[in-house]
Structure formats: C-alpha cells, structure tokens
C-alpha cells in the first residue's frame, strides 16, 4: 500500500526516560503505520510502550522522558521537527487523545462548560455564547442527557461514564482527524464500557476520523479495530489485519496474549502469560521476549529479531515464525 494512505507514519521511534536508576527505554525503535479512516489497535501489557508511543506522537511525553530518535509523519507534517508553538496548534485541533482515567482527566475546579469551551475558543476563536452552543451540541452528540443543564455542572457531580463521555466530547470538539483512545474504558464498569465503545464507533463514522485504540484487552481489539500492532517491551513484535492476527498469530507473544483471553464458550482455567514484563533499563539480550517464550532457542538469546513481512499486510519480529505452528483463537 502507498504511504499516501497513511495518516500517521511512525518510523523507528525511540522515547527514553532518563531516571536516576538508569535510562528506561520505554519505546525503543517502534514503527507503526496507521491507515487513514481506519481503526488501529495498539496492544500489549502494561509498560510495553503503547501509551508512550501515543504521547510521543502528540509530543507530550512527561519528564524525565524524551524523544531521542525516529520520525513521526502526521498528515505529511514532520511532527518531531515542529516548534513547540506549532505542535500546540495540532494538539486538540487535528489530533487529540482520550485518557484512561475519566476521574482525573477533568480539572475539578471548573464547570463542564468551561472545560469544553476552553478548547473550542482556543482553536476556533469563537466568542463565549457561540462556544457554549457548540459545547452543548457536542454533549448531545456524545449522548449526554440534559446537556444544557450538565454544562453548568462540576466534574464531581457526574458519574465516571458521564465524565468519560465529556472527555471524549472535549477531544472531539475541534473535529480532529486522528484520535488516540488510551485505554478509554479501563476504569469503567462493563455496561458503560460497551456504551462508550459503541459511542466511539459511531462518532468515528460521523466525523470520518482515524482512531487509534490503546488497550490490553484483546476483546476490544477484536470489537473495534481493523489493524493491530502488538508491542512488547517498547518494540513492535507483530503488525497485521485484526482478522489475520486472531486467526493466525505469527509471534509466540501474540499467541500467549490470545490464550490469556477469558472465553465464555470454552470452559477452561484462565491462563496468563508466564513471567513479568522485563526491566526496561537493561532489557534481555536478543529477543526481549525470550525469557518468557516457550519456543525460545539459543539464537533468541543472542540475536535481535527484525520485522519481516509474512504477507504485505502482516509483519512479525521472530526468529522462528516460519517453523512455528501457532494457534489463533478463532
């Protein structure tokens, strides 16, 4: 596929955190291509670098983190070479992010109206009354009843699901072409989760935007995305169309993740991926997954695997992908 189809092209991104204990290589050479208009999933355990990749794209990596290398092209703009002032114009307006915890992603001191109109006025330069009207419309869009009344509410007066809808509304208020959803449903209960996911699907269609869903929940990946990238210890281990990934995973880590999904149709004990995510200050040699991999051989400890194309749409970083017969979950 041509690169014109990609709204976001991340090449060899490296974002390190310079802590006192050492340099944490949270993202270490990640390359991801996100197709325009699609929904792309980023999946992996906590600490695999999913969120940091998103934060790097918006250039809001918290200290002591720093982007040390790579190239990010968004809509033909070289994001990493922009002045801070110019990135600020992109943020919120052309790319936005919805965070994990709705409880803390709104400033407790200001009304909903204030928080929504702030963004609208910042980027669109509308006056107060018009901005309030816009804010009300967008609240109705995300399915908040009595939107007019909610505008004057403070965050503590609203439920978690409601707050997450408002966070989504705020991210959408300037109709960005790319939206990151960083575990948007992790802190919500299951019924609300379903509603929020449904909402995001509808909104994506209505706005014609590209969605990048960050999650560790394979269920959400299956439900929402067309393409998916599996991250492990700050590196990409597999990228494929969602169907292909579930059907025929090529990386043992992907297989392990799929195995760990609880299923209603097959009675079995819940499996987890053995071991823990490695220390990112001194990651394991060779393939970073080798200490936890049931198929690991000598070469895995010594040589770093590179991404190889299985098909034009499917790539994997594993020394043994050709010989292994891995089980999907379909």
């Amino acid at each position: 596929m041509s690169s014109l189809d990609n709204i976001l092209d991340i090449q060899d991104l490296k974002t390190y955190f310079f802590t006192e204990a050492g340099v944490v290589k949270a993202v270490d050479g990640v390359s991801i291509q996100v197709q325009r208009g699609g929904t792309h999933g980023l999946v992996g355990e906590s600490g695999s670098g999913k969120s940091v990749t998103a934060l790097s794209t918006l250039r809001i990596v918290p200290r002591p983190g720093r982007i040390v290398g790579g190239k990010i092209t968004f809509d033909n703009i070289d994001v990493l070479s922009l002045e801070e002032k110019e990135v600020r114009k992109l943020r919120g307006k052309r790319m936005a992010i919805v965070f994990q915890d709705p409880m803390s992603s709104l400033n407790p001191l200001y009304t909903i109206e204030h928080q929504l109109t702030e963004v609208i006025r910042l980027h669109k330069g509308l006056d107060k009354a018009v901005a309030r009207d816009e804010a009300r419309k967008i609240l109705e869009l995300v399915g908040i009843p009595e939107a007019e009344k909610r505008l004057d509410a403070y965050p503590f007066e609203l439920s978690g699901g409601m707050k997450q809808r408002i966070a989504i509304a705020r991210a959408l208020s300037c109709e960005p072409s790319l939206l990151f959803a960083d575990e948007p449903t992790t802190n919500l209960d299951v019924t609300i989760q379903a509603q929020v996911l449904e909402l995001m699907k509808t909104l994506k269609k209505d706005f014609g935007m590209t969605l990048v869903v960050i999650t560790h929940d394979m269920g959400i990946i299956a439900e929402m995305t067309q393409r998916v990238t599996v991250l492990y210890a700050g590196q990409v281990y597999e990228t494929a169309n969602t169907w292909d990934l579930f059907n025929g995973p090529k990386h043992p880590y992907t297989e392990a993740l799929l195995k760990a999904v609880p299923r209603l149709d097959k009675k079995k004990v819940l499996v987890s991926v053995p071991g823990n995510i490695p220390n990112l200050i001194e990651p394991p040699s060779g393939c970073r997954f080798h200490p936890r991999c049931p198929y690991a051989i000598e070469v895995c400890k010594e040589k770093v695997p590179v991404l190889e194309a299985v098909t034009p749409d499917h790539s994997v970083a594993c020394h043994r992908w050709k010989e292994l017969q891995l089980k999907g979950s379909l």
């Binding site: 934060l55 918006l58 809001i60 918290p62 200290r63 600020r88 114009k89 992109l90 943020r91 919120g92 307006k93 936005a96 992010i97 965070f99 994990q100 915890d101 803390s104 992603s105 709104l106 400033n107 407790p108 001191l109 702030e118 963004v119 910042l122 980027h123 966070a167 705020r170 991210a171």
Partner: protein
C-alpha cells in the same frame, strides 16, 4: 471562632470611626474618638487617667486617649499585616509556580533564590532600612516601608509550599489532558495548576498576617517605627516606661495584639479544616 475575632477587629478598626462621625440630634456624638496622636486629653486636664466611661482604655501621660489610638492603630496594623501578606503571597506564588513547573537551570536557580530569601533575617533588615530611610519614616511612609520590606523579603515560605504543591499537581492526568488539547504552558500553569494549590496558600497567608502584625509591633516597640503614626506597638512602647503605675497604656493595646494574633491563627486553622475535603463529614 477565628473568623469572628477577625471580623470583630475589622468592625473595631473601620466601623467605629464611622459611628464616631455621626452626630446625634442634640449635637453630641454617639461615641467620641479623638484624632490619632492627639494630645487633646492633656488640654482637658485628663492626662494619665485610668479607664473610665469617657476614656475606656484610659489616657497616657501626654494626654493621648488610648482607646482612640488603639482604633487607629488597628487600622494601621491590619494594613501592614494584610498588605504585606498580599504582596508576599503574589510574589511567592509567581516564583514558586515557575520554580515548580519549569525544568533544568531555571528551576534550580529559582530554588536557590528562594533558599537565599528564606535565610534572610527580615526583622534586622527592617531595622536597618528604618534607620537608613528615617526620612521616609518620619514623612509618614514608615508603614508602607515596612509593608514593602515584609512583602519583598517574606515570600519564600509561600514559594516553598507552592513549589512543592505544583510538583504534586502537575503530574495529574488533567494537566496532561490540557496539554494534549493544545493549551500553552502559561495557561496550564496559571489557569489550571495554581487554582488547584490555593488551599494551603490561603491557610499560610492567614497565619502570616498574624506574623506580620507581630513584626510591626516589635519594630515600633523597639522604637524604629514612625512616632507620628498610631500603632499598637507604639502605644505599648510608650506605656512600657511607666507600666507599674499607668498599666493601662500598655495593657490594652497588648491585649489587642494577643487577640488579633489568636484570631488570625484560629482563622488559619479553621480554613485548613474547612478547605480540606477529607475532613468534611
């Protein structure tokens, strides 16, 4: 309770003079206040009188009505306490906020500056300035001089607290969310972070009003104040030389100092409880 005491002092300082200016139909005054620093009682042969209905706090040997001067003194002391605190709070928030939010060399050097100001003995500085600029002091700018010095040298405590609080608040998710929406650093810092850290600042400010009033009293008591401006410290100092016989000259202003310091301290405690959401039922 602290709030009630502080309000009572405001009434004492600002409502009483208004009441005193009202004339009853028969031409007499509701309450009589002498002008500040006036020796009228001397001409009436009332100098050195113990407390009475006419002179509730008595009069001193030069004929000054202690009650009247206490009222005018309350105004001046509240001015010193509050104005100096406001000045220190504004500087403290600005410096502390930037020190807490910026990074690298700016943050480090601001911290250094805060620490330097933290160890400056403000009282000695004021005494020094009062001597050097005695012309200003006698021209009636003594109080403003004290306010400026207390303000410009007394902000480091607030700056420390602000800096620490900002470390806490700036890591919260809504700050990152603001950044992701394209807000500028200035906007994030002063519209989103600072309002979230005002609680401890308000409490400290309330306590520091009491501290600043005490400092003013000490300065006047040591004789470095303006002898032509009515303050409690001045009254206490004037009475101190003959406290064994004319005790009321020092006693009543002293009592007021104790009460106002108590009042602002209780107010600070009360505010810290009232503003702490964890202590609300």
């Amino acid at each position: 309770m602290g709030f009630a005491i502080v309000i009572a002092f405001f009434i004492f300082a600002f409502v009483l003079p208004v009441l005193a200016s009202i004339r009853l139909p028969d031409g007499s005054h509701l309450i009589s206040l002498y002008p500040a620093r006036s020796f009228e009682a001397l001409y009436q042969g009332q100098e050195g009188q113990p407390p009475s209905w006419q002179h509730p706090f008595g009069t001193e040997l030069a004929g000054i009505d202690v009650f009247s001067d206490s009222v005018w003194g309350a105004r001046n002391d509240l001015y010193v306490g509050i104005a100096a605190t406001l000045l220190a709070t504004v500087i403290g928030i600005a410096v502390g906020a930037v020190a807490g939010y910026s990074k690298g060399i700016i943050s480090a050097s601001l911290l250094g500056i805060i620490q330097v100001f933290f160890v400056i003995p403000v009282l000695l500085l004021i005494l020094l300035f009062a001597r050097v600029y005695s012309v200003l002091v006698f021209a009636g700018f003594g109080l403003t001089l004290i306010v400026l010095i207390l303000g410009f040298f007394g902000w480091s405590g607030i700056a420390f607290v602000v800096r620490g609080e900002i470390f806490r608040v700036k890591e919260l998710e809504f700050i990152q969310a603001e950044k992701a929406l394209g807000a500028s650093n200035f906007r994030i810092l002063f519209r989103h972070i600072v309002p979230n850290i005002l609680t401890p600042v308000i409490v400290i400010a309330s306590l520091s009003v009491a501290g600043n009033i005490l400092t003013e009293v000490v300065i006047s008591f040591l004789g470095f104040g303006d002898p032509n401006t009515a303050t409690w410290g001045l009254l206490i100092q004037e009475g101190s030389t003959y406290v064994s016989t004319y005790w009321w000259v020092s006693f009543f202003p002293g009592l007021l100092v104790v009460l106002i310091v108590l009042g602002f301290n209780l107010l600070g405690d009360g505010l810290s409880d009232a503003l702490n959401p964890r202590l609300r039922e």
